[in-house]
């Protein structure tokens, strides 16, 4: 059984939800980034989203934009990200999703992207700017092996389109909690609940919710409705604010543990 499926099943047995942690690969540098990821893994992150830095992240807010720029100062490319996945596999067996804009994948080579990702130990990919209509140009090149394409569903996505997206997905669905870029505030849990209800009516896939979730309270509120909760900008903000602090790695670990404590429905 693949890692994603296994993860969601194990969590379900414990009445727990997935903590999905996003960090930009190579922020603030490759070594520190690997240490941060290790701290996340040791403190309960269930699924890792590893962001490929991009010069023009038009769907991201300022926090993730700056994280991309920091990583790009060290020339972190998709090739670097693959080698990081290999290193992460030595200390951790959770599902790893490569999170990228399309252009770095095109430049890497759309055809060899999937076999290389699998060889490195990744479980799937989420391409921010590759909607349903364009995604077959990538997936049609894939070998017939288990590798998840994680698709996004937005608050603007109508029900019939949700069904089409779900049918073309694998692994889990990423439900965007609000119209806006990553890291913007104003989480509205009642709206998420309505959107979730519609999405659940068209799919049995696990659904993870992201965008604008930053506190443990947010995590608990969303975990009550979803199969997973995605934290991205809040982790990146922690990195940015503690970038020169000797406790950076420890703080990342503590923060991960705090979020993880909030995903379990029995505890909260």
């Amino acid at each position: 059984m693949n890692r994603l499926k296994q993860t969601f099943e194990n969590l379900k047995k414990k009445n727990d939800r997935a903590l999905v942690g996003f960090v930009t690969a190579g922020d603030p540098d490759v070594d520190t980034s690997l240490k941060l990821i290790k701290a996340m893994c040791e403190n309960g992150v269930d699924i890792l989203e590893l962001g490929v830095p991009f010069s023009d992240p038009s769907a991201d807010g300022p926090v993730i934009q700056r994280s991309s720029l920091r990583a790009l100062k060290h020339d972190v490319s998709l090739k670097t990200v693959m080698s990081m996945v290999r290193k992460i596999r030595k200390f951790c067996d959770i599902p790893i999703i490569i999170f990228s804009y399309y252009n770095p994948i095109l430049a890497y080579g759309a055809r060899k992207f999937q076999p290389d990702s699998l060889a490195a130990g990744a479980d799937g990919v989420l391409v921010v700017d590759l909607p349903l209509e364009e995604s077959t140009e990538l997936t049609s090149m894939w070998e017939d092996r288990e590798f998840s394409l994680i698709n996004l569903v937005a608050p603007t996505t109508p029900k019939d389109r949700m069904a089409k997206i779900a049918a073309a997905s694998s692994g889990f669905l990423y439900m965007v909690s609000k119209t806006g870029v990553t890291g913007s505030d104003g989480l509205d849990t009642s709206k998420i609940g309505e959107q979730m209800k519609i999405l659940r009516s068209v799919t049995n896939f696990p659904v993870c919710v992201g965008f604008g979730i930053s506190t443990a309270e947010d995590v608990a509120a969303v975990a009550a409705m979803a199969d997973g909760v995605v934290i991205g900008s809040a982790f990146e903000r922690l990195i940015e604010e503690n970038i020169d602090h000797p406790e950076l790695i420890a703080r990342m670990g503590n923060q991960t543990a705090a979020y993880k404590a909030a995903t379990n429905l029995k505890k909260s």
């Binding site: 991009f54 010069s55 909607p131 364009e134 608050p155």
Partner: protein
């Protein structure tokens, strides 16, 4: 490639918004429903005779169309070759071809019931044109502009503000047009339900390259008729500058099926392609995805978008419209690159010989046309799209000339 030039408008883009391997809709899911809605609105309203009538009356009485074609006699004589004619888009209201598109898009926004518009701008011409038509229709208007461009195009910032628009400085990335477009996309994602995004070139996700071409093709349609009246025949060569490529597409498109009409697009070579400081996307770039469509882009080997460089803010863009990428591949249009210095020389020549101050963008087209004119016999006709006037550039050219 299976390509029917006589039936180009019917085949391209296809239903998915692709121009051969280019174009498409590479955007976040949040924007997809808005693009689908816009595409449906284009299909419904653009062919509507009432919409077309309203637009053509505005183009005539508000914009001042048709813009004239002028024979640049002294310039022609000074070069000793082919005759150079100028399509005077610089005489359109607001001083550039940009208004053709913004008038069309804001009118469409109104027909769709949207009351707010946003736009990105580089040189400020598209921003001014959007602010203008937003004022005309009483719409709320926000213009995203890079901080570098705000510095070098200060008069246009003032104009937009006078017209009631809010100019939002963009300091992310390189603070130029590409970053303004990123920021406009970010804003649009958050306000997509009631806001219409007026993209200024034949770039961006489908249906923008198609829609902008539809609103700009009036340049070429008028030019065909005017050249028949003036010279009794079509020109031998069309020349236009290419940043994103809207004025070039507007001039070229109605001539696509005329196999005897050559076409030349002039990109910005900045301080020279070999210097690495240029904006010659088609001449020196490679295939990639930027701002929602697949086309040629300036990028590093690992797919990071590179900064473009040009003396002309309107050409200072590392991408280009997807239909131009197709035209390059099938060799329907030839693309060349003109340096800052060549553009400045052409700028001076037109000022002194014809009493016309051209935009630095259009000066690239002019420079390419002047090179061609020298090589061609006197009985040939070159038509240059003089896409804008140069008043906005006086601060830049002043210290250099």
């Amino acid at each position: 490639m299976n390509f029917d030039m006589n039936d180009h408008s019917k085949n391209y883009p296809n239903a998915a918004g692709h121009f051969g391997p280019y174009g498409g809709r590479y955007v976040a899911e949040t924007l997809m429903p808005a693009l689908i809605e816009l595409e449906a609105a284009c299909k419904t309203h653009l062919p509507d005779p009432v919409f077309q009538k309203e637009l053509s009356l505005l183009l005539k009485h508000y914009t001042g169309r048709p813009t004239p074609i002028f024979f640049a006699q002294r310039l022609t004589l000074s070069l000793g070759g082919a005759a150079i004619y100028l399509k005077r888009e610089d005489l359109a209201h607001t001083g550039a071809h940009k208004i053709n598109n913004t008038l069309g898009q804001t009118l469409l926004a109104r027909w769709m019931g949207k009351k707010k518009v946003i736009a990105e701008t580089g040189a400020g011409q598209h921003g001014v044109a959007t602010a203008t038509t937003a004022a005309l229709f009483g719409m709320e208007c926000k213009i995203f502009m890079g901080v570098e461009d705000i510095k070098r195009q200060a008069p246009n910032v003032k104009r937009m503000e006078l017209l009631g628009a809010e100019v939002i400085p963009v300091s992310s990335g390189t603070g130029t047009l590409k970053d303004a477009m990123n920021e406009a996309l970010r804003y649009w994602v958050s306000a997509v339900r009631d806001t219409f995004y007026v993209i200024g070139s034949v770039a961006g996700p489908h249906p923008y390259p198609f829609m902008v071409r539809e609103f700009q093709k009036i340049i070429g349609e008028e030019a065909r008729e005017q050249m028949m009246e003036i010279a009794g025949r079509l020109p031998d060569l069309l020349v236009a500058c290419v940043g994103g490529g809207s004025n070039a597409m507007g001039l070229f498109f109605p001539f696509i099926a005329d196999k005897d009409v050559e076409m030349l697009g002039a990109e910005a070579a900045g301080t020279g392609i070999e210097s690495g400081k240029h904006a010659a996307t088609l001449c020196a770039g490679s295939v990639g995805v930027l701002h929602g469509s697949k086309s040629y882009v300036l990028q590093t080997p690992s797919g990071q978008i590179q900064e473009a460089h040009s003396i002309s803010a309107g050409l200072d863009y590392p991408g280009v419209g997807p239909e131009h990428a197709l035209f390059k591949d099938i060799k329907r249009v030839r693309y060349t690159a003109i340096t800052d210095q060549q553009a400045l020389d052409a700028f001076s020549a037109l000022c002194r010989l014809e009493g016309i101050i051209p935009a630095l963008e259009s000066s690239h087209a002019l420079a390419a046309a002047m090179e061609e004119a020298k090589k061609r016999p006197k009985d040939q006709i070159i038509l240059v799209n003089l896409s804008g006037r140069g008043d906005k550039d006086l601060g830049i050219v002043g210290p250099l000339l």
